[in-house]
């Protein structure tokens, strides 16, 4: 069904090489972001909040910060950045003139988006350790899980990229999908504060909810059977969007 071989990594490598060329800029956000959020929300606003379910507020939001960063980096990589490569730079056209297939180009882009999420999670971890808001060694699991979570958001992003008429239209999913998720996925307050229907909606349709839930279990080193449900949800949805993105892109690019 999908025409994917090891050549997918030549596409991934192209993006890795480009990322390293501008690493100074790329490495700033994962260091700066958690510091800003922890200072402002965790230790600023957080002083008015005694504890959430018995957890100090900075510790409560730390896994959410990682989840959000993974979401943003993977999502924006496979929307705006992929669109620029596809539409303006014609990079995809150049690659499919070689033995690399269109399926491999799109898969490589999504794997790269996932990798970028993983890189950001990796760079954030020492900062969070410095603030003493995550427990070790379980928090090392943030890194491999960031790849899976990244792939989830990369797949969703690539579907939008495949159907968007222009780069401006990508603002719709960014503001109508990503921003609400940023706020309502159990990130800065527990999900159970919301009315029950909205809770169910968040669990069913907001992928970040499941990512935050697993990351929170990881950083607190407190796992529950519910995490398995979240993991299964993520694996299934990731697989669906991965395949769907490739099919939509084929339809767009192979004429």
């Amino acid at each position: 069904m999908l025409d994917i071989s090891g050549r997918v990594w030549s596409v991934w490598r192209r993006n890795w090489d480009a990322f390293l060329r501008t690493y100074r800029v790329n490495f700033i956000p994962p260091f700066v972001e958690p510091v800003l959020y922890l200072l402002a929300l965790g230790f600023g606003l957080g002083t008015y909040i005694e504890a959430v379910d018995g957890i100090p507020y900075p510790v409560f939001i730390a896994p959410a910060l990682v989840s959000i960063s993974v979401m943003y980096s993977a999502f924006f990589e496979c929307t705006y950045s992929s669109f620029v490569r596809m539409y303006y730079q014609k990079t995809f056209d150049a690659i499919i003139a070689t033995p690399v297939s269109i399926d491999e180009v799109i898969a490589g882009e999504m794997l790269w988006g996932a990798t970028r999420g993983m890189i950001y999670a990796t760079l954030m971890l020492p900062v969070l350790l410095l603030f003493n808001v995550v427990t070790m060694p379980s928090s090392l699991l943030l890194i491999p899980f960031a790849f899976l979570a990244g792939l989830l958001f990369a797949g969703i992003a690539m579907c939008f990229t495949a159907i968007t008429p222009s780069i401006d239209a990508l603002n719709y999913p960014s503001f109508l999908f990503i921003t609400p998720m940023f706020l309502f996925s159990g990130t800065f307050f527990p999900l159970d504060l919301l009315p029950q229907p909205i809770q169910y909606f968040a669990l069913a349709a907001l992928p970040l909810t499941h990512v935050v839930s697993i990351n929170r279990a990881i950083t607190l080193s407190a796992f529950s059977p519910l995490n398995l449900f979240s993991l299964a949800w993520i694996v299934v949805v990731t697989a669906i969007f991965f395949v769907l993105a490739i099919r939509l892109m084929r339809r767009r690019l192979i004429v």
Partner: protein
Amino acid sequence: MLYSHDSTDSSGGTIIGDVIVAHDLEKRFEDLVAVDRITFKVREGEVFGFLGPNGAGKTTTMKMIQCISPKTGGTLEVLDMDVDTHQREIKGHLGVVPQETNLDPDFSAYRNLLVYARYFGIPKPEAEQRAEELLAFMQLDEKRDVLIDKLSGGMKRRLIIARALINTPELLILDEPTIGLDPQARHLIWGTLRSLQAEGNTLVLTTHYLDEAERLCDRLVIMDHGKILVEGTPADLIREHAGSDVVEVERTEKVIAHLTGLGVKYDLAGDLLQVFTDRPHDVARELLEVCQHEAAVTVRPATLEDVFLRLTGRRLRE
């Protein structure tokens, strides 16, 4: 340098094979037939041109040869392989110079070649050596570490040709190789293409520049509305469809009346009136007498452009 396997038959002579064989090739979109059942063959070692106005179907044909646009009818074999079933194999042996510059702006000239080599699975040491050679071949050594944005139009075009050669292709496809270049850059690229041809490579190119086609192509086809109108060598096409020379004279009522009276056929080209003939001096003398030297009469050899305009008309294409 790029391709050098000649198969020999029992008598010791070289068999020249066909590199591309298209039969009734068709590309149909929902409401448009872009390529309308064309048949042609490209032989090994020749430079084969596709000419035609915008929208004639040249680029679509190139894309089907490159296996990036599936055909909707007919058969098409490239390097003895079917384009529907052997896409990767075919693409691995092609070099492609696309119409649009799609070099990778994130990298220098040299890194562009290396990154591209990776898509072909060329081992790194080999790719590095090949990239250096190609930069030298295309006179780009000095721009080795320069980002794409900083290269001139001509340099970008040369780098794209270098990139197309990275996999030592058996067949080079060039879609408008000199589009938008100044005369110096065009001559440099022509020189390169000729040396590639001299080494026995097969080149297929599309162009709008008729002088380019006349200079470079061993054989060519002129396409319009998805069909091939004529096929042949530039010289043969000119002889058949334009004659040896053209006599041009200012378009006046007197001239038109005179020519009509004599039963001489003429073409209208804007302000000019053209007579295609194998006896230019007789026609010129006649016209000079009619005009009484009030209007200029010019005699020049017929060109491929004359053939092109006669066959495809002067109406503007978008």
